[in-house]
């Protein structure tokens, strides 16, 4: 789970759109010799520069710009040179050799060698073997442990050899940043992994890295400034600096993009994104999500130690029937304004190579749901309410974390649909921390006191993590539906060790079939990521992957290096309004600048109406005061 659900939390929480929008008059107070800056807006703030603690999208994006992975990702997500220049695996796929580039240097000038990579990987192995068992937020280690990595050695200064316990092809996708040993080895595991430890390593700027940009200035909660790393081994990127700016919400972010204050914005809310279409010098991009929003069932129902409200929850037929009562296309339309795809498999279509659409996909059909429920033995009582096999009326509790506001809309629909089936749904939001506690089953001293709930997952370049959530090994961990199926477990291990792609595909296909049939989750939809960028300052924006990807915020950093200074390509003066020589006045002078001008018709309407309201209120008040004056006359003194 490269980007675990908490990110989604942070993303959607990231809250409070400002009302207006930004009209920073020509934001860059630029002098002629000013650096060429790529400004990126997100509504998630950077929370840490210590990559082990990364949680938010910004955390990941910053760390993958300043550190190399052993093997990186190309424009098509193919393995491409990273810290290692080339690599090969033995025939049994259990010995993997990586050739580290010669003469490579860290941004502080120290040589970058095999020893750095070895130290980093060994650190992960040591952490996993230690009593603590994890480091930081605990999201990165699985990339290495999933491969079965056993030993890591340097056969010479530029050759890293990794031995794995079982055959694997996943080492080229290990999302573990290679860190400079000469910096990091000064700290203990606790100082690196435990944010509350004495002497915790914050990794404050200037950060030493090997990637194309390294952090030089960080104003927590506001922005992070990254400067070009002159020691970077590849072709230098066009921007001299990259700045990630945190916004309070989509509204201001969009205004900032329109005014040229930022060049790229990530994760815009649907209606605002739609409204950006046709804006001059702005391109919008809709990325497929490598993740999904789901409805998870407490598949243990009310069995011993679990506190679902009905035994029906543990019945596959019950969950299957309710699948016909979910109009997923309607949810996509209403909740996502159409920017998503109705869900089915636990492997999102983003993984074109692995995704298999269910052959017998459920369609929205309340009559069919009703028929199936009845056939499965869930009949209605005299009052029209559905009754479970214990003779109890079925009243389900539906909840979702407060960080996912839009789920409330889904809940309204689900409540309505299930009501048609005689099932009452009690829908309410739950504070995220409490929800996490409520979900826990008896294996971790929890009570599993819930029926069904909504949240989301985000995946990796490889579907491994998304597949793992339904294995029984993950119960009391990430398998929140308590789903257990021996065949699924077996297939998981088989696909993990399969070195033949076709073979692995067959395993994964069967896993998807089982998942869809047994419905521990109903995948609601794959929600698209909505980004937009300016085309007048940089050109060369390239989606990764080309189909359904976005130019940046992908895997690795190829998108940044593909950028070209627009001024060097199109010397026409119209190209760069924000870089006009007079712009230095712009930011400073709060003048009604033309730059800020393109307030849309809608905005003008707003103003007019607001003015009208103000006028009305004023008239009312004045009228009131006048009447008061008359009435109050006699009370006056003098």
């Amino acid at each position: 789970m490269l980007q675990p659900p908490r990110i989604r939390a942070v993303r959607s929480i990231a809250v409070l759109a400002l009302v207006g929008g930004l009209l920073l008059p020509a934001a860059a107070p630029a002098a002629a010799a000013d650096p060429l800056i790529l400004r990126v807006g997100t509504d998630q703030k950077l929370e840490t520069l210590n990559p082990w603690h990364s949680v938010t999208v910004a955390d990941y994006e910053v760390f993958q710009l300043q550190y190399d992975l052993l093997v990186s990702f190309g424009q098509n997500l193919e393995p491409s040179p990273g810290f290692a220049d080339s690599w090969e695996s033995s025939d049994d796929a259990m010995t993997h050799t990586f050739h580290i580039r010669e003469g490579m240097k860290w941004s502080d000038g120290e040589p970058a060698t095999c020893e750095d990579a070895r130290w980093t990987y060994q650190f992960v192995l040591d952490v996993v073997a230690s009593e603590t068992g994890y480091v930081g937020s605990g999201y990165l280690e699985p990339y290495l442990t999933n491969t079965g990595a056993k030993t890591v050695t340097c056969s010479d200064a530029n050759t890293l050899v990794v031995e794995t316990e079982f055959p694997t092809t996943l080492l080229t996708q290990a999302y573990v940043p290679i860190l400079p040993k000469h910096i990091w080895s000064k700290y203990t595991q606790e100082q690196i992994g435990d944010a509350e430890a004495e002497g915790f390593f914050v990794n404050e700027p200037p950060v030493v890295g090997s990637g194309p940009y390294v952090a030089v200035e960080w104003e927590p909660g506001q922005f992070i400034r990254m400067a070009r790393n002159d020691n970077y081994w590849g072709k230098p990127g066009a921007p001299d600096e990259v700045i990630f700016q945190t916004f309070a919400g989509s509204d201001t972010m969009v205004q900032a993009l329109k005014s040229g204050a930022v060049d790229y914005i990530r994760g815009i809310s649907a209606d605002l994104w739609d409204a950006l279409a046709g804006e001059p010098d702005i391109a919008t991009v809709e990325g497929f999500s490598n993740g999904y929003s789901y409805l998870s069932w407490n598949t243990k129902g009310n069995s011993e130690g679990y506190n679902g409200s009905t035994s029906a929850l543990s019945d596959v037929a019950f969950r299957d029937a309710l699948g016909y009562a979910l109009d997923l296309d309607k949810l996509v339309d209403a909740t996502l304004a159409g920017h998503g795809v109705a869900g089915d498999s636990q492997v999102p279509p983003y993984h074109a190579k692995w995704y298999v659409k269910p052959a017998d996909r459920r369609t929205f059909d309340l009559a069919e749901a009703d028929r199936r429920l009845t056939a499965a033995g869930y009949t209605r009582n005299a009052a029209g309410n559905r009754v479970d096999k214990d003779g109890k009326e079925i009243n389900l509790r539906l909840t979702w974390p407060d960080s996912e506001e839009e789920m409330a809309t889904n809940a309204q629909f689900i409540q309505g649909w299930f009501k048609e089936l005689g099932i009452t749904v009690d829908a309410y939001v739950t504070e995220e921390g409490k929800l996490l506690s409520d979900l826990v089953g008896p294996g971790l001293d929890g009570t599993a006191d819930w029926d069904f709930y909504m949240w989301g997952w985000v995946g990796d370049p490889d579907p491994m993590s998304l597949l793992s959530f339904f294995t029984s090994f993950q119960i009391d961990n990430l398998n929140d539906s308590f789903y257990a199926n021996p065949r699924y477990d077996e297939l998981f291990e088989l696909q993990q060790r399969a070195t033949d792609e076709a073979q692995r595909h067959a395993y994964i296909e069967e896993m998807q079939e089982i998942f869809y049939r047994d419905s521990p989750y109903h995948v609601l939809y794959y929600d698209n990521v909505l980004d937009a960028y300016r085309t007048d300052k940089f050109v060369g924006w390239t989606n990764q992957p080309p189909e359904g990807g976005t130019p940046i915020f992908g895997y690795g950093y190829p998108g940044y290096l593909a950028l070209i200074d627009a001024a060097s390509v199109t010397p026409e003066p119209t190209a760069a309004p924000t870089e006009a020589p007079t712009a230095s006045e712009g930011a400073a002078t709060p003048a009604p600048s033309a730059d800020g001008g393109p307030a849309s018709g809608g905005d003008n309407t707003t103003i007019l109406l607001l003015a009208a309201v103000v006028a009305i209120v004023t008239v009312v008040v004045i009228g009131l005061l006048l009447s008061r004056r008359r009435g109050a006359g006699p009370v006056e003194d003098e």
């Binding site: 759109a17 969009v254 018709g601």
Partner: protein
């Protein structure tokens, strides 16, 4: 709200009453500010009382019929929200939610404040000292931050779910309780000081002499004489409660299943309505809040003028 009722007989003892006043309500209505406040409130009360008759039942995602974020039109006089629900319907129903929360919160606040104020003032001693210390504490600390924290805790205790009390979902009842807990102290202080002065009055002494118990005296002699004060205080509390509810909802503690004005403003901001020029999403709710609070403020100032003899006597 007429003059305080004559305390019922206490063994034939003569019961003193404050100076006879014309009905408080009539006094209020005879003042322009009071009249204006009352008219505005009456209008909103009508909206709050019969939203179903005026605009039909609260629309949900399922029953919505309009297009997404459509501007005002004949069919949708105030446009629609992102689910195609009529904003007129939502805003009118939100009026009910906001007003009911305000009313309940006011009742809770005034109840706690009045009971503690009267008892504390009458009983005195250690109990009084303790209650007043606590009241001072609540007066001093920034109650809004406390309210935010308490909301999370009380939601945990009360539970959420779609169970309702007075037609209000439990999650919103939480807000009522939180407002009650955080704003009773000024009422208590005011009522207590009035009680202290009443306690020394002859009619209370007389009641005591004839053997009336403390509870009886508080109920029959003191309460009727602080009623006006309680009413005046309730008016201001109401305005404060509406503002607090709005602000709590605005920072995301509302309930989308029962949108109040604050919740609508929060939703508008989440959707990006201001940037989209969808003014119809938030202007009606905003105007509603300002007008209602304004009305209460007018009423409050009218009451202040009526009940505060200093202002009146100076002619």
């Amino acid at each position: 709200m007429s003059a305080p009722a004559v305390p019922a007989g206490t063994g034939g003892a003569v019961v003193a009453r404050p100076r006879r006043q014309p009905g408080l309500l009539r006094q209020i209505l005879s003042r322009p500010d009071g009249l204006a406040g009352a008219v505005i409130l009456l209008a909103f009360s009508v909206l709050a009382l019969v939203p179903d008759i005026l605009t039909g039942p609260l629309q949900t995602a399922i029953t919505a019929t309009g297009p997404r974020l459509a501007p005002p039109s004949g069919a949708f006089p105030l446009g629609t929200d992102e689910l195609g629900r009529s904003m007129l319907n939502l805003t009118v129903h939100a009026t009910r939610i906001s007003m009911v929360i305000g009313l309940l919160a006011t009742l809770v606040t005034v109840l706690i404040g009045a009971v503690l104020g009267i008892v504390s003032g009458y009983v005195g001693g250690r109990f009084d000292a303790l209650v007043m210390r606590i009241a001072d504490f609540f007066l001093v600390i920034p109650t809004f931050v406390l309210a935010i924290i308490l909301t999370a805790i009380i939601r945990d205790v009360l539970g959420t779910g779609s169970r309702e009390l007075f037609g209000i979902r439990l999650s919103l009842i939480t807000i009522v309780v939180v407002i009650g807990i955080t704003s009773w102290s000024s009422t208590a202080r005011i009522i207590r000081s009035q009680t202290l002065s009443l306690k020394e009055r002859a009619f209370v002494d007389r009641a005591r002499v004839v053997g009336a118990g403390g509870g009886h005296i508080m109920r029959r002699h003191i309460l009727p004489n602080v009623t006006n004060l309680i009413v005046a205080n309730a008016v201001l509390t109401f305005a404060g409660a509406i503002l607090t509810e709005t602000t709590l909802s605005f920072v995301g503690l509302g309930d989308p299943f029962q949108p109040s004005w604050g919740q609508l403003l929060d939703a508008a901001r989440t959707v990006g309505a201001p940037g989209l020029g969808a003014w119809w999403y938030f202007v009606p709710a905003g105007v509603g809040i300002v007008l209602v609070v304004f009305a209460f403020t007018l009423l409050g100032s009218a009451l202040d003028a009526i009940l505060n003899p200093k202002l009146q006597s100076r002619r």
